[in-house]
Symmetry: C2
Subunit: 210 residues, 2 copies
């Protein structure tokens, strides 16, 4: 498979969401500029992104909503259930467990891990929480391929190592610590403090139009 831009993958989820949220009867076809408006990008960007799908619209009607959506789903979503584990059931961790619970049939958090004995060995946010000690064996056993890290910065690298050696291939990292992982493991960082600082900075300094 040809390599697809990072950002394109992100925007495809925006398009998918827009299509999903269309009134079912109102539109059976949609134009690139309409999709673009909904996702707040340009029409050219939409058309460029959709090129990766191998599905074409027609000049007359644009894109068939149902078909386009199916092609995005085929591209973006796994064919079999993809399992996720989360480490660190503090403030953020618990909010994420609740947020992601039942959100997608093909992407499911099936376990969480925690260092603090008062928090593990019970259900948290809809899935069982285990001692972090058991992470490696449980991840293997349940065939988990995606990990979420929501532990303090000091422990993030340790958790990442456990995840990677157990077979996790993608990590969503909320810890305020840049992770060291093998090049074939994908890491997406969400650094809340950094984002906040950026917003505060640009709120004070004039910035270019979008």
């Amino acid at each position: 498979m040809k390599t697809v831009s990072h950002r394109t993958v992100g925007r495809l989820t925006l398009y998918w969401r827009s299509l999903r949220d269309l009134a079912p009867e109102a539109h059976s076809y949609i134009y690139s500029h309409d999709l673009a408006t909904r996702a707040r990008v340009t029409a050219a960007q939409v058309r460029r992104d959709l090129m990766v799908l191998g599905y074409s619209g027609t000049p007359a009607h644009g894109y068939d909503v149902g078909k386009l959506r199916q092609h995005i789903e085929a591209f973006l979503f796994p064919s079999t259930e993809q399992r996720v584990a989360l480490a660190g059931v503090g403030n953020i961790g618990r909010a994420l467990l609740k947020f992601f619970a039942g959100r997608r049939p093909t992407l499911r958090i099936v376990a969480s891990f925690e260092k603090n004995p008062e928090k593990y060995d019970r259900l948290v946010g809809g899935s069982p929480c285990y001692s972090i000690e058991k992470a490696e064996s449980i991840i293997r056993e349940l065939n988990i391929t995606v990990g979420i890290i929501a532990v303090p910065a000091e422990e993030a690298q340790f958790v990442a190592n456990q995840f990677v050696s157990a077979g996790v291939r993608g990590i969503l990292n909320f810890a305020r610590a840049p992770l060291q992982v093998p090049p074939d493991v994908y890491v997406e960082d969400i650094d809340l403090a950094m984002s906040m600082d950026k917003v505060a900075y640009f709120a004070r300094h004039w910035h270019q139009p979008d």
Copy 2:
């Protein structure tokens, strides 16, 4: 002021954090490659980023840790307290309130807003929660310039409009809806579902080395 790259601003917070966390006595000087390792970027990237500060290191010792930190702080942080409001005290909103509480002296969440009457008119996560109806007047009154949106997608644009017309200049948006704002208002989107989808996608597909 010359316009500074989006990403540079983000990385400066990483460098600042690295400097802050150095053992105070261990290093009074630091080299670009050392900072680079800590922030998991390249040395050239560090030097390029630091150009915006107008502070130079010396070829012999690298950067004076104290001075570099001061310059980053002067660049990145406001001179007077910058006030923040949050809308939507659900799962994510409450976690954010707790997460940001007391984190920085110059950046403080001073109010939250909520539609549901059962949740407002009391303290939530350390700051008072008001009816969303009062947002505009309270934002003006308290001179709030930064807003966090953690409401459902359907209400996000309404809240953004309130924020903007009350004088908010930067928005951290957790809603899964692209916002429409004037070009001089900065928006940073954190789309948890999109990030999760991206991680899941790239966990399944081979990707280039970092």
